[in-house]
Structure formats: structure tokens, C-alpha cells
């Protein structure tokens, strides 16, 4: 199994020619755009000029000096506006900078150096890909525009998008909208400490921290067994030999369990990302949807990966929404950082992707399938893996629903979706897939208790659950 490099950090969607974007999403490198604006004349200038000419002509034709005087301020105002139009050859520079506060908010600063003659800047900005807001500020900017955006979700996200255009004197000249400035960031998910680690049915590694069913070194007492070739002499249990020996040559040894590591595959179903606010399931606005299924999934995947890696096990990662986001199983702290990076950049794919064949699972691996279980694809894969003999734990990451601002029809639709989801869960459990609900919503046992239950030794199985 090859190990593809983790996908690069996502960059802003639109990259204008003269733009420098941050290489790393964690750094606060400014996003800068420099361009010569394209200017247009406002329709108001043409309309005002036409009105002034008509009024003045009427005054002339009708010998009405009052009409001619009414046209006078319009003519002067138009001439002034035309004279004060901005320099059309001068470039404008805009800079968007993010500054981390170290908490759950990020400060951003927008600085715009406008060409000479610009009297106002119409700025349209969007925070967290939400509703666009527009402000008009006097230009050129004497000070920077400062804002603050909360970090509501983990994973890659567009924090700030700003578009702007310049207005000349009396809005008589205006520039076409400039290329948007986009500041994105990848937010690491929080990690929970896992006290109990469920293990695969069979441990196949030769070293590690878990007791396997194999006889070997390192583990606790396993059994008393007749001496055979290869047994060490110091393992001979003389008391047992005296007690059990039938003949003079009978020897019995004390055998201990071998230690082994586990192989774990974390499969993250990132094909959908619904939030706790049911009313937002259609719009899926990051600022309003609340904690989302992918937030929970990233937290769960990070916690599971860290728990197993720190216990000396090997962990692989597979993202269901992408063929390329796969990391082969390995161990060690460097591998843990690779896993965490792959998990935190996971996001839904725009292209619906159906697996013709399920992703390859290492022999004897424990499969964690993290999914909201809102469609049949995850269930199909889990049952396939279970049928191949793997232990599969489906981690339910759908957050507890909230029904603020929902309509009656939305609540009915939610109930139908949930009934179908319950059917899928029953199908999974009937097929031997174990279920672990990750969000702590008070509807079932605490997460640690559920993990402890899953870590109990399984009868006729080749391994025991382990406590870290």
C-alpha cells in the first residue's frame, strides 16, 4: 500500500495575477492584491448633464432666466465632479491580514490604499461564508478597518472575503469591483482523552502494549503448558511439573501472553456535513448551523488517532469523499502529526463519490467508521468490512438536533430522515457492527463508559481490550 502525500492546504478559490497568498493556513501572512482599477462613468453624470442641458435650453428658448439659473448649479456640480475624477492610471493595493488571538476568535484587518481622487470605498465583506454585508467608508482610508470573527468550526474554512470598489467625487466615477480578498484558515479540532481502547479481534503485531492471545513474552500469565522445543529453561515451573508430571521426563512451563500492537483504520465519512440546527440543513450556513457532524467527526478521529498512536499502535486514515486522502497505517509521533493534519483538512467534496469497491483494510485491523449515517453508503461499506472478518465500530457523529426556527414540515422531514437512520443503525447492529455515539448529549451512556464496554474482552476472540 503506497502512502500518498497529504493534500496541500487549500488556498483561496480565486487567485488574481498580483496576489500573494499564505503558504500555511496557520500563519498570519497577509493576503494582498494590487491592481489598476477599471473606471466607469456613473449614469448619474449623464442623466444630470442631460437634465441640465434640457433645463438650460428651455430657459433659452422660452426666455426664462429662472430656468437657466436652475441649470447653473447642476452644470457647475457636473463640471466639478468630472474635474475631480480619480487618476485612472494609478494602482490600488488592498491587504487583508488575520491575527490570531489564541482563543476562539481571530482578528482581521483590511487596509486599502486607494488612488488619488477616490472619495469613498464601497466594501462588501462576508464572514464565515455567511450573509454579505456592505459598508461605505471614506477614502483614501486614514486607518485600517478592523474586525473580529469567531472560530465556530474546525477544519478548513473561509473566514473573511472582501470585495471593494472605489467611488469618485459625488459618486460620479466608479471602479468596477476588484478581485476579492479571501482569508482562509484550517482550524485544528479539539481532542478528547480516550481512557479505553477497543482492540481488533486478532492482534497481529509482534511488539506493542496490548496482550494478545498468542504465547510469548511481556504479558501476564497465560497458562501451564508441557515443555516443547524452544521453551526457555527458566520458564519451567517445577511445582507444576511435580504436581502434573506423569513420567520422569515430563516438564511443564509457565507461559505468558505476548504483547502486540493493534492496527486501526479510521474511515471518515465526510460526504455530508449537517449541523445541529435542523432549520439550517438546507442552507448549511457555517455561522448559523451550529456544531456540525464534521466538527464532531474531526474531533473523534483526532482523539482516536492520538489515543492509539500514543499506545504504540498503528493507525491509518481514509477519507470517504476523496480517493486521494488516504494515509497508510503506521505508528510514531511523526505519523500522528500526519494523521492530525489529514483529519483537520477534511472537508466535504463537491463531487458525489461512490466506491465501487470498499477501501482496502489491513488484515486484522479494527475499523472505525465515523459517519452521520444519513445514507446507505457508509452502512454498505461497514457491512462489507464486517463480512470480511474485521471488527468494525461505527462512530455516530450526528450532533443532537436543535429545532429553533424550524417549520412544521421541516420537523416532519427530520423525523422521516431519523427513522431511516434508525433502520440503518439496526441493520448495522444486526450485521455485527458495533455502535459508538460520540457526542455527549445525555441520551445514552457517557462516552468513556461506552468505550469501556467496547473494550471488554470478547469471548472466543484473540485479544482483550486495553486500558491506556
Amino acid at each position: 500500500m503506497s502512502e500518498p502525500a497529504p493534500p496541500p492546504a487549500p488556498l483561496p478559490a480565486q487567485q488574481p495575477p498580483h496576489r500573494s497568498a499564505p503558504n500555511s493556513a496557520h500563519r498570519s501572512a497577509p493576503v494582498t492584491a494590487t491592481a489598476v482599477p477599471s473606471w466607469a462613468r456613473s449614469a448619474g453624470l449623464t442623466a444630470g448633464g442631460t437634465a441640465a442641458i434640457v433645463v438650460a435650453a428651455a430657459g433659452l428658448l422660452l426666455s426664462r432666466i429662472d430656468l437657466a439659473l436652475l441649470a447653473l448649479p447642476l452644470v457647475v456640480a457636473l463640471a466639478w465632479t468630472w474635474e475631480r475624477r480619480p487618476d485612472q492610471t494609478e494602482a490600488a493595493t488592498a491587504t487583508l491580514t488575520l491575527a490570531e488571538l489564541g482563543g476562539t476568535e481571530v482578528d482581521f484587518t483590511i487596509a486599502i490604499a486607494a488612488p488619488v481622487g477616490v472619495e469613498a470605498i464601497a466594501l462588501r465583506y462576508t464572514l464565515l461564508a455567511g450573509e454579505a454585508r456592505e459598508i461605505v467608508v471614506a477614502g483614501p482610508l486614514s486607518g485600517d478597518l478592523v474586525g473580529r470573527v469567531p472560530l465556530l468550526h474546525s477544519g478548513p474554512q473561509e473566514l473573511v472575503r472582501a470585495e471593494y470598489r472605489f467611488l469618485g467625487a459625488d459618486a460620479g466615477a466608479l471602479s468596477l469591483p476588484q478581485e476579492p480578498l479571501v482569508a482562509s484558515r484550517v482550524v485544528a479540532p479539539p481532542r478528547a482523552v480516550i481512557g479505553w481502547l477497543p482492540l481488533p479481534r486478532r492482534l497481529q503485531g509482534l511488539t506493542g502494549s496490548h496482550e494478545s492471545a498468542r504465547a510469548g513474552d511481556g504479558g501476564d500469565f497465560r497458562d501451564i503448558h508441557p515443555f516443547s522445543a524452544g521453551d526457555r529453561l527458566r520458564r519451567i515451573d517445577w511445582k507444576a511439573t511435580a504436581r502434573r508430571g506423569q513420567n520422569a521426563g515430563d516438564l511443564y512451563v509457565r507461559r505468558t501472553a505476548a504483547l502486540a500492537d493493534a492496527t486501526v483504520l479510521i474511515v471518515l465519512d465526510s460526504r455530508d456535513d449537517v449541523g445541529e440546527q435542523v432549520a439550517e440543513w438546507n442552507r448549511n450556513t457555517p455561522a448559523a448551523k451550529g456544531i456540525s457532524a464534521l466538527d464532531v467527526a474531526r474531533e473523534a478521529a483526532s482523539s482516536i488517532a492520538a489515543g492509539y498512536i500514543q499506545a504504540g499502535d498503528r493507525v491509518g486514515f481514509q477519507d470517504l469523499s476523496s480517493r486521494s486522502r488516504m494515509i497508510a497505517h503506521a505508528g510514531g509521533s511523526r505519523h500522528l502529526w500526519r494523521l492530525l493534519r489529514a483529519i483537520e483538512i477534511t472537508q466535504p467534496s463537491a463531487v458525489r463519490f461512490r466506491h465501487q469497491r470498499p477501501p482496502i483494510v489491513p488484515p486484522g485491523a479494527l475499523v472505525y467508521l465515523l459517519s452521520s449515517l444519513l445514507d446507505d453508503e457508509a452502512v454498505r461499506l461497514a457491512l462489507r468490512w464486517r463480512g470480511n472478518g474485521h471488527r468494525v465500530i461505527a462512530v455516530d457523529v450526528l450532533p443532537a438536533a436543535r429545532f429553533a426556527r424550524t417549520t412544521r414540515y421541516e420537523r416532519i422531514a427530520y423525523r422521516i430522515v431519523m427513522m431511516e437512520r434508525e433502520d440503518r443503525i439496526r441493520t448495522l447492529q444486526a450485521g455485527g457492527v458495533e455502535l459508538l455515539r460520540w457526542p455527549e448529549d445525555g441520551t445514552s451512556l457517557p462516552r468513556q463508559a461506552r468505550l469501556k464496554l467496547l473494550s471488554r474482552p470478547v469471548r472466543n476472540a484473540g485479544s482483550r481490550g486495553g486500558r491506556r
Partner: protein, 183 residues
């Protein structure tokens, strides 16, 4: 999950405190008042009100300048003499032009920094003060009285016209000097 809740609305601290729709509101008010001054309580007032409201809320149809023409046409019902109504109309039509241009380009859902209006207001005053003085002077000297008598003769018109042309030429040459040479 330790992610924060949704209690705080994100925003940009830019000191933009005036709703953009205020410009349209002021335009509507100015249009209605000018219609009242120009036409009085007649049926034309209703037309002025409709035009004011329509121009304010659909500035892209350029109805603001139709309103300016409509109000200017209303002067035809009056004698071309000096009156406070004329001076108000002289000020109001200029104001309508400035507000209509701003309403055309300011998004109605936007918020505007108060400083945005400083430069247009300063230009408005700089244009209006001499224009009002000139209008008073011109109407006193050139407007015919109700009996048809004109204070100045045709020869005086020629002198005034020549002075106006000279002033215009002087203004044009100064503006041309200030313009930077082409690159």
C-alpha cells in the same frame, strides 16, 4: 465539543453608523417638499410624490432627474421673479442631483461612514452660496417685472453675456492647467 456558541455576531468595526437607505429617505423627503413648494396643493403634487418615492427606491431608472425636470417645468407656472420659492428650488434641485447620484451608487442595505458625506456637502455649499447670490442678482437685474418692464436693456444682456463667457473661459483654462500632463 468545546467550540463556542453563536452568541456573538461577527462584524467589522469601521464606524459606519448611517444606514445607506438614509440617502434615499432624504431624497424622498426633499422631493416631496420641493413638489409642495413648487406646485402647492394641486394634483401635480401627487405626481411629484410618486416620482420622489419611485426615484428613491428604484434609482437605477434615473427617475431622480425626471423629478428634477418635472420640478423645473413647474417654474413655468410662475413669474420669473425673485421669490423664496425659487431660491429653495434652486437649492433643492442641486440637492436632488447630488442625492440621486449617491443613491445610485450606495447599496441600500449598506452602512455608511459619516465622513463619506463631508466632501459632497462641502462641494454643495461651495456651489450653492455663489449660485444663490448670482441668482438673486440676476433676477433683480434681468427678470422682467409683472408689467413687462426689464431693469436692463438688451445691450446690458450682451455685456453680462460677455462677462459670463470670459469667466467661463478663465475657469476652463485654470482647470486645464491643473490637469497633469499625459504620461
Amino acid at each position: 465539543m468545546k467550540l463556542p456558541g453563536l452568541v456573538r455576531r461577527p462584524d467589522l468595526f469601521a464606524g459606519a453608523q448611517i444606514p445607506g437607505v438614509t440617502v434615499r429617505g432624504v431624497f424622498t423627503t426633499a422631493g416631496v417638499l420641493l413638489s409642495l413648494v413648487d406646485f402647492g396643493l394641486t394634483g401635480w403634487l401627487a405626481v411629484g410624490i410618486v416620482l420622489s418615492v419611485a426615484a428613491a427606491f428604484s434609482p437605477q431608472y434615473l427617475l431622480g432627474w425626471v423629478l428634477i425636470l418635472f420640478l423645473a417645468a413647474g417654474r413655468l407656472a410662475h413669474n420669473p421673479s425673485l421669490s423664496w420659492q425659487f431660491l429653495v428650488l434652486l437649492l433643492g434641485l442641486h440637492l436632488l442631483h447630488v442625492l440621486a447620484t449617491l443613491a445610485l451608487e450606495l447599496p441600500w442595505r449598506s452602512w455608511v461612514q459619516p465622513r463619506v458625506f463631508v466632501a459632497p456637502l462641502r462641494r454643495f455649499l461651495v456651489i450653492q452660496v455663489p449660485t444663490q447670490l448670482l441668482a438673486v442678482l440676476a433676477l433683480l437685474l434681468l427678470a422682467p417685472s409683472p408689467d413687462g418692464h426689464r431693469p436692463l436693456t438688451v445691450a446690458a444682456f450682451a455685456v453680462v453675456g460677455a462677462v459670463a463667457l470670459a469667466g467661463l473661459a478663465l475657469l476652463g483654462s485654470r482647470l486645464d492647467e491643473r490637469r497633469p500632463p499625459p504620461a
